[in-house]
């Protein structure tokens, strides 16, 4: 997909509210977006500050056809980790966040 495309789609999903979270990292409170410690607006900012060399993509462990995107921006001295993948139901693309934390 490429860095810019992935980042832009993730930002769009955040803006339009088309996202959810994997339950495991929500229950362990390691996904700070899922539990409300950081806002969608903040995650958008982090993504916008991310450089191409701070992005990686790889196949999902259990579904190789799904690409997982990892963003590791450093903003104001803080290192962040954002991991998510996309899914489509044909017309609509939504995002599933696996992790959002420092």
């Amino acid at each position: 997909m490429g860095f810019r495309n992935a980042r832009d789609r993730l930002v769009e999903a955040l803006e339009e509210g088309r996202f959810e979270h994997e339950a495991r990292k929500t229950k362990s409170e390691k996904n700070l977006l899922a539990v409300g410690d950081v806002s969608a607006e903040r995650v958008k900012t982090l993504l916008h500050r991310c450089r191409g060399d701070q992005h990686e993509e790889s196949p999902h462990y259990w579904d190789p056809e799904t690409t997982v995107h990892e963003f590791e921006p450093v903003v104001d001295g803080e290192s962040w980790y954002i991991k998510a993948y996309f899914q489509s139901d044909g017309n609509t693309v939504s995002a599933t966040f696996i992790s959002v934390h420092q």
Binding site: L14, G17, E20, S28, A34, G36, A40, H60, Q87
Partner: protein, 200 residues
């Protein structure tokens, strides 16, 4: 920012960690246990694997409920008090028409919020904590449950006004409650505590 609003019965897709594959899901309301905060949050809309019924996703619309539950995490505060002070707690509850332990929690919470908002209340609690009644032999123990954030903030403001400890703050609060409720006058605080007791 907008939020996509889902309803129970809506369908979706997710990768299930138990089935270890992509699965179809349906949304339903369940209780979600937050492990670090150690709190059960009821009625959270979640995505459920159609194959194994595992909770696999949490939609964005459920986040505010989780956020509130984490903030409302309660702490148990214990303070050693003189027996007469323990008696006063029961007298206060009886006077406002409540008998439940929950009113005790609400009483303390009421004054913690006041301390957080008004330095004058913090100073009053400080002074009452130094009275003979508060400083008498502490041969009883009071335990109350209050939300952690309210307690922390009130303690911070109380310390700024010279309150020496959490136990002192609690003792001062109980005497303040006794003065306001048992003093014989229909003060604003008494009326507010009566309203609280009515729903406690």
């Amino acid at each position: 920012m907008t939020v996509q609003v889902l309803q129970a019965g809506d369908t979706g897709e997710a990768i299930c960690p138990r089935c270890e594959e992509r699965v179809s899901t349906h949304y339903e309301y369940r209780t979600l246990h937050l492990e670090e905060t150690d709190v059960d949050v009821e009625n959270v809309l979640v995505g459920v694997c159609d194959q194994c019924q595992e909770t696999v996703t949490v939609p964005a619309q459920s986040t505010p409920k989780l956020k509130v539950a984490r903030k409302k995490k309660e702490e148990t505060v214990e303070a050693r008090v003189p027996r007469p002070l323990e008696d006063l707690v029961f007298l206060i509850a009886d006077e406002v028409g409540s008998s439940g332990v929950d009113f005790r929690n609400q009483l303390v919470r009421y004054y913690l919020i006041e301390i957080g908002e008004k330095d004058a209340t913090a100073r009053r609690v400080r002074d009452l904590a130094e009275t003979g009644l508060a400083q008498a032999k502490k041969d009883a123990r009071i335990s109350v449950r209050v939300d952690a954030d309210t307690l922390r903030y009130a303690m911070q403001r109380a310390e700024e006004q010279g309150v020496k400890s959490q136990a002192d703050m609690i003792r001062g609060i109980l005497i303040a409650g006794a003065q306001d409720v048992l003093g014989g006058r229909a003060t604003r605080r008494r009326r507010e505590l009566e309203r609280i007791a009515a729903v406690a």
